[in-house]
Amino acid sequence: MNSIFFYFFATVLILAALTVVLARNPSYSVLSLVVAIFSLASIFILLEAFFVGVILLLVYAGAVLVLFLFVVMLLNLNKEEVARVRQSRLRPLGFLVGAAFLVEFLWVIKASTATETKTPGSIRGTIETIGRILFTDYLLPFELTSFLLLAAVIGIVSLAQGALKSDDTQQLSS
């Protein structure tokens, strides 16, 4: 039963991830990213990592992607710009590097599944265990993320405040 669900969600995940990259309209990309995150969260829940799954849904599907959607819709990319990027001469090179990366990746997965004999048990990622680890073993990195957030907050404030003086706003509205 579990494996049926796994294959179902894995297929949806791969299809959705492909749509993210291949869709012509950026808002379709963002929407299929929601589907991809949802199926990824489902796979985590199948592994009994409930907390990670829920956080993934709340943070990514809930907050980050809504933000993406706003940005994509507000940016209003014109078609010519998109077409220009698509015809870039570096595209074949990108495909080549991507293909090389994929082959290498598959080789690594194949080689390590051959040597790895033990199967991982369930992750059991409940809030209690994660909280306990965060406040003991990983106390320092956990506290330091607050400084990462502080840097981001100061950055946003300094970049956003007073960026639009009266003459700039007129230019934008015209």
Partner: protein, 477 residues
Amino acid sequence: MIPNIHWNLISLETTITAVLALFILLDILIGKTQKDWMGNLSLVALFAMILMWFRGDHIWGQMFSGMYIVDSLAWFFKGFFLLTMFFVLVMTQQFFRSLEQRKDEFYLLLWLALLGMLLIASSADFLLLFISIEILTVSLYVMTAYLKRDKHSIEAGMKYLILGALASGLFLYGISFLYGAAHSTRFVVIQQFVADQPTNPMLLFGFVLIFSAIGFKIASVPFHLWVPDVYQGAPTPVTALLSVGSKAAGFVILLRLLFGVFAPLHDHLTLILAILSAVTMCYGNLAAIPQKNIKRLLGYSSIGHAGYLLMGAAAGSTLGAAAITFYLLGYLFTNLGAFLVIVLYFVVSKNDEISDYSGLSQRSPLLACALFLALMSLAGIPPMAGFFGKFSLFIAAVQNGLVWLAFVGAANVIISLYYYLMVVKRIYIDPPISAYPISVSWPVRLTLWLAMAGMIGIGIFQGPFLDIALAAVKGMF
């Protein structure tokens, strides 16, 4: 079980958090003033921290179950970053004098960047390392785009952000592979795993990804494309921080990984590192020749210096590691001295074009002399710090059988002399574009003298400084 905290080991970092909290509070209380109180107070706090650094020497240990370590290498580089911060603070004070822009957030970001660098020097766990790198780079992204009215600055910030995010992604992906192989992010555990199974494919793949991300930080060749635009567009103090602080942070990680965690792999990596070093040197020095903007020129030259430094990494011996450390110490005084002159000249001329530097020697002999000495040290002319640094790197390479690499390095020194001397010709021989002398206030003058003393002193009295470098790296072998 709550971990024991030894406040002695983490005193510098906790001081920074206190300074940040104090500044945010004072900023609200004081409000808008014309006085640069935050810059002056920053300098005072930094001097206090440098005193703490001297007092805390030789207290080694580890905390948080081996996640955070303080050893000779960490302590040396903590001092290195504090010194870098001093020069950058002086530059910031001068730089913003000429611009009508709030600078309080800039100081806060500088302190956060310093926090990130100090933590990088002490990280012995990939998770902590990642968060420290992010604290450093997120503050650098914002500082790069800080001049909102200058479209070059915004463009530089955008480019740095996008490529930096890619590098962070590669780094995290690499960590996930290492975790998958060794089931831990702790350096000691992974080191044990590397010693047991050096050819595990997951491990190698993870290493390649992590190395790419570090290549981005130190600006070595396949990952160097962001350097010229970002160096040119960023406010000059940020360029200085990028070229010295951020690069040195990259090399601390590289030293810890190549000589510590992945040391058993080093024999397989020698050739790759040597080729990367040669290509990076040649690219940086050849591309610097046609440059017209001094910050862009120093950007390409900093790619070239990453190449020289990688030579020590390829050598892989104790001498190689010590040579990297020694070279970075000389590079600190040299490059920051050069950038200080660029900042002071920018305040007067609002321009970074090399053609504008014509006749600088007649307008300000001190600035001209400092820039001349810095360029000579960057090129590697005998009495200067750059010469002995390159010399020890070449010796390390030759000792490890990489004679061809030392020859490539020597050829590059000659190429680099050409474009450095073109700038020197502008300064000393060409007629000045304006007759106004440039005045420099006495604290800045003292800083310039300190930079020059560093360049010459390290070059002449190599012995004690090489001993410091050897002592810093000996803990790893």
